[in-house]
Symmetry: C2
């Protein structure tokens, strides 16, 4: 998606260790018009999939999941990150391993908000190793909801999470696919 | 704001201890069209204030802050909650006491995203004791940014945070002002 790629080229900063900072428009300061364009683009891509719900994970996926859900005319649900789980049979829970923080955290969705009638569009801001995505898919599996598509803002293709999901049969659509960082520059596929 | 009040009456659940659950449309599952209406309403209310930025706090304020910022044509910034602070002079940091969790947490905004030229509209989903709001105002003060208005989704008037802010001279506009809970019902002002 050209608007996002251009913004990354213009405003993104590549730090040591293959870290891309996009906090001036994407995940700390947020450009609402870009989020609208992204939401429209996701909706257009998945329009024919009979989506009944958009699922994301707090925090940074919320803006683009909201605008996609608005365009598709369906509710948006964000899974919550929790530190300690008080035993509760009213929620679906999954574990997510974070490579950056080297720790596992839990994500949950209330059982009222995902069910076996749902056709879910999963949306997230980043896709790298795919650990968060695995957790979101797991929540849908527990609910016996159908994962009808996966929409990603920025995919770091070289970290393999996207290809793993595609090989598992999911349709993954990423708006910006980053092949590599070279000398502080972003190289798109 | 009628659309929000009606939805609270219809879908909100009052639990023991004056807790209002609005997780089916507001802060877990989210109705994007309601968020658009709220954003438009905030924008209309503060249109003449010369707003340059909308500031909220992760997580649940993001949806309505985004739509307000979209309508006003300005960026949205969300302050981040952090557990432990690595010393860093590139961020504004404030402390927020949580009555529900009986703990203090820190919120931060990168200094690049708030400055003395900004006229800030602070938006949050709930206003109860006003502790989170105090933290957001403090971040603006540190940046020497002007707080040009405060927009709240649901104000629990009886908890006093809104009146404290009004007495301090801020313009606080709340879309739903709850006076009391009576026998499991929500009473609006």
């Amino acid at each position: 998606m050209r608007a996002l790629e251009e913004r990354i080229q213009e405003k993104g900063r590549v730090l040591d260790g293959n870290i891309l900072k996009v906090d001036s428009f994407f995940n700390h300061q947020v450009d609402p018009e870009l989020m609208m364009l992204m939401g429209k683009d996701f909706a257009e891509h998945f329009r024919e999939k009979g989506i009944t719900k958009v699922l994301t994970l707090e925090v940074s996926g919320i803006a683009m999941a909201l605008t996609a859900a608005l365009e598709l005319g369906v509710p948006m649900v964000f899974a919550k990150k929790i530190k300690s789980l008080t035993l509760n049979d009213q929620v679906f829970v999954s574990q997510v391993y974070s490579y950056t923080k080297e720790t596992t955290y839990e994500i949950r969705v209330d059982k009222r908000f995902l069910n076996d009638q749902d056709r879910v569009l999963i949306i997230d801001d980043f896709l790298a190793n795919g650990e968060a995505l695995k957790g979101l898919i797991d929540l849908c599996d527990q609910a016996k909801a159908q994962v009808a598509g996966i929409g990603i803002g920025i995919e770091k293709v070289f970290q393999g999470g996207g290809d793993k999901a595609r090989q598992a049969g999911y349709e993954v659509y990423s708006q910006a696919r980053i092949k590599a960082f070279e000398e502080g520059k972003v190289i798109f596929e």
